[in-house]
Symmetry: C2
């Protein structure tokens, strides 16, 4: 990509700014809330809006992949996955672009300053549900097509679009579709680009190369047949809630150290190269404390805090089902309590082995308590971690695009939480995945007054567009 | 009391059986539910029903003591306390009879086999709300008056009745009235008899000489300003729920041993005489396990189990406010949790000293955790224990009455739970209190299908009636 080409592309993007904002406004105006069955027609309407845009922009092979009836409903049809191609040159690399067109629920009464389904520009930011999660980034790709079309500029890779409508509701049907189309519609994909996360902060662009997994467990302790009065039975029976408290205290220390033996041993050793990625990340603990709203961070430096967040496992205790949870004072001995906790997993923790270790440990610790209550410890659900090589060809291309647009090298980040689809694409398509975010860390993706800053939307379009050009230039890793 | 007199009284009670059942049926038909503002007129109606009965039976000085507006309501009048006298001979002892005429809520839909406000006789038991708690026992006293009137038999003590209408709703206004009338209406009371608890089991009559107190505490731990996502912040922040779990585990062992130093030291030493009261109590662990519906009793013999229940302190953990409590799996780090626990107190634990010990211990243990979260441990409410001398003149009279009616010596029991009014009468009137129950342990006082067995109702009338005669004979203790 010559400097002239890229400068033309950038100028075209700048000149289309108001056009791009109008496109986003149209999309935000469709309340495609996937969590709410009553909104399902709006989700489907959004799929058709995408089909029209893609058609107008010259995409081909556009299909609405139907996914059948939503599980646990009578006849609620899942929204379709929109697939399309742009370019089909066998000499070019094939890049799969993932995004989602459904949004989180939103109501003015929740605390929005303006109607969530009307895009409002204020202080150089665009407010509206989906502005940053994920309609903004999805539309960046459409904007890129428009800019190239108007410039009659070739996109040097083939694009395969995959836009789903159930991401905010568990991505139902997506993994099945990837599996089904791996040797068909998605055959020959060389890399996957997902723009559905955020910068770490508000100032510095990032590339994201990993997410932690999550194994979620329950500890059920059963004693009496029904709740008892603590006056009548306190001191007489083994209380499930007391047993559970002792087990909880055996799981993790107040400073976050997992007390279950055998887990730390599975964690991949930190290499100097990986450690160096944390050296100059644009992040400060004061800002982090500001996010949290309290000075309760365990770590005293950025590197430890971020490594604890991204590349080490953690164990959180979420709560107790079956105990007294209301305000006030109830003198109850709960008959059956279900403790909930989860472990965030990282390389090279094997999920099945982790389950075995965790459950055996809880059973052994319970046996030590000498309680006559009954214990059951089990996995509720799991999702594996994902880590990519942040120096591979796709990341190199994204780093060049970032540097070109923003004038700085990107920070390399991971996410503490899970994004299961990342792993689905990587494992099923056997390809490399990059998370290349457009929005900022303070966009309020699932919150009220969600926004995307105009610079992020416009420079994001440039970043994603130039990424495609650099992808064509970068040599695929062995 | 000659054998002839007593036999006449017993025969009269037997002959009035159907009359007594009709009287109870009339009372049960008035749904005097104190917890429900809409039922308040029915509670008042029940007070007037008592006034009419007392008037017809020759009671004097009958008054409805008004208690004003119920706190935290706009204009809801508290139901009056019905006071009355029967006999006013300065040469006789004065016995205060306490009972309550309000009842727990009840609806057929809750699982009643028959309308809760229609007394139904089945298998020699009388089913209906209030049958045993506490209309049955209250009406036993009315039955005693009727039998004596018809026999023209003197009651050898003066009776002072005190029937309240808010017992099931915290006895609002009662303590104030006792305080107000201690040197007026209630002046000169020699003993108080309360029939508002139950036999330990279903076969053996009991006299009750103690109840435990209860100090209820909360542990509030605050970390972040709002709930956090465990993926993003797990391993990064000190989690309040983890801190709380560690503190909970420091309070009490799984076998019920209180781990807070200094509490056991305050407990009165068990004397051989007191220990002997537990030797032959009609009670078995199998039946107790049957009540509980599980084999999770800490103790392997009746004596230890009952002493743990009645005369030793216990600590129960009730639950957590602020944590995740629903079914399912939520990956939340709760920002603020409030743990609830309580300690059942016994002689000679001083409530204020206990608070001091408990709160100091929690603060010290929290300091050891090294958490940056904020802790606040505090007392929510307390109620003192009550213990009487089970060998005093009132108990001796009750034991004689029991032996006469039932042919067996009573078991001496305590209650694990609190009955605060017991203590109010004892402390304010500076007199001895006895709990002399009429109903059985399986009467279902606060449950569906509440009942009183006909033998308990009729023999209970005889027991309470002969108790009055023996009271006149027994010499008051110094």
């Amino acid at each position: 990509m010559s400097d002239e080409t890229i400068n033309n592309f950038f100028s075209k993007v700048d000149s289309l700014k108001s056009n791009f904002i109008t496109r986003l406004a149209e999309a935000v105006a469709i309340p495609s809330v996937s969590a709410d069955a009553e909104h399902r027609p709006e989700v489907v309407k959004m799929a058709h809006w995408l089909v029209k845009e893609l058609t107008d922009l010259g995409a081909t092979d556009i299909e609405l992949k139907e996914l059948g009836i939503q599980e646990d409903t009578k006849d609620l049809q899942l929204p379709p996955i929109v697939v399309a191609r742009y370019g089909n040159d066998p000499a070019k690399k094939n890049i799969l672009i993932y995004g989602h067109y459904d949004v989180q629920p939103a109501q003015l009464e929740d605390g929005w300053n303006t109607d969530p389904f009307t895009l409002v520009e204020k202080d150089d930011a665009l407010y509206g549900r989906g502005a940053t999660d994920d309609k903004g980034p999805v539309i960046c790709w459409l904007n890129i097509l428009q800019a190239h079309n108007e410039l009659k500029l070739d996109i040097p890779v083939n694009l395969v679009f995959c836009f789903e409508g159930m991401e905010e509701s568990g991505s139902l049907g997506l993994e099945g579709l990837i599996e089904k189309e791996k040797d068909a519609y998605f055959k020959g994909v060389d890399a996957v680009c997902i723009s559905d996360n955020y910068w770490l902060g508000t100032k510095h662009p990032v590339l994201t190369y990993g997410v932690r997994g999550c194994n979620y467990y329950s500890i059920t302790i059963e004693g009496p047949a029904a709740d008892l009065h603590s006056g009548l039975f306190g001191g007489v029976v083994h209380e499930p809630m007391i047993d559970l408290s002792h087990l909880f205290a055996k799981l993790v220390s107040p400073s976050g150290e997992i007390l279950i033996p055998g887990i730390q041993e599975m964690v991949a050793t930190l290499t100097p190269e990986e450690d160096a990625l944390y050296d100059n990340i644009n992040f400060d603990l004061e800002g982090f404390e500001g996010n949290i709203g309290s000075k309760t961070i365990i770590h005293d430096n950025v590197k430890s805090a971020l490594q604890a967040r991204w590349r080490y496992p953690s164990l959180s205790i979420h709560g107790v089902e079956g105990a007294f949870y209301s305000p006030g004072a109830k003198t109850v001995i709960p008959a059956k309590v279900i403790g909930k906790f989860s472990i965030r997993t990282v390389p090279d923790i094997e999920s099945a082995k982790l389950d075995q270790i965790v459950i055996k440990y809880i059973e052994e610790e319970f046996a030590k308590l000498g309680s006559k209550n009954k214990l059951k410890a089990e996995l509720i659900h799991d999702g594996n971690y994902w880590v990519s090589n942040p120096h591979n060809w796709s990341f190199r291309a994204a780093a060049r695009a970032t540097k070109k647009v923003w004038g700085v090298d990107p920070d390399y980040t991971r996410e503490g939480g899970s994004i299961p689809i990342t792993l689905s694409f990587q494992d099923i398509l056997k390809t490399s995945v990059i998370l290349l975010p457009v929005g900022r860390g303070d966009d309020g993706a699932h919150s009220t007054n969600e926004k995307i800053n105009v610079p992020n939307y416009i420079e994001g379009t440039k970043t994603l567009g130039s990424y495609l050009h650099y992808l064509a230039e970068e040599e695929k890793d062995a």
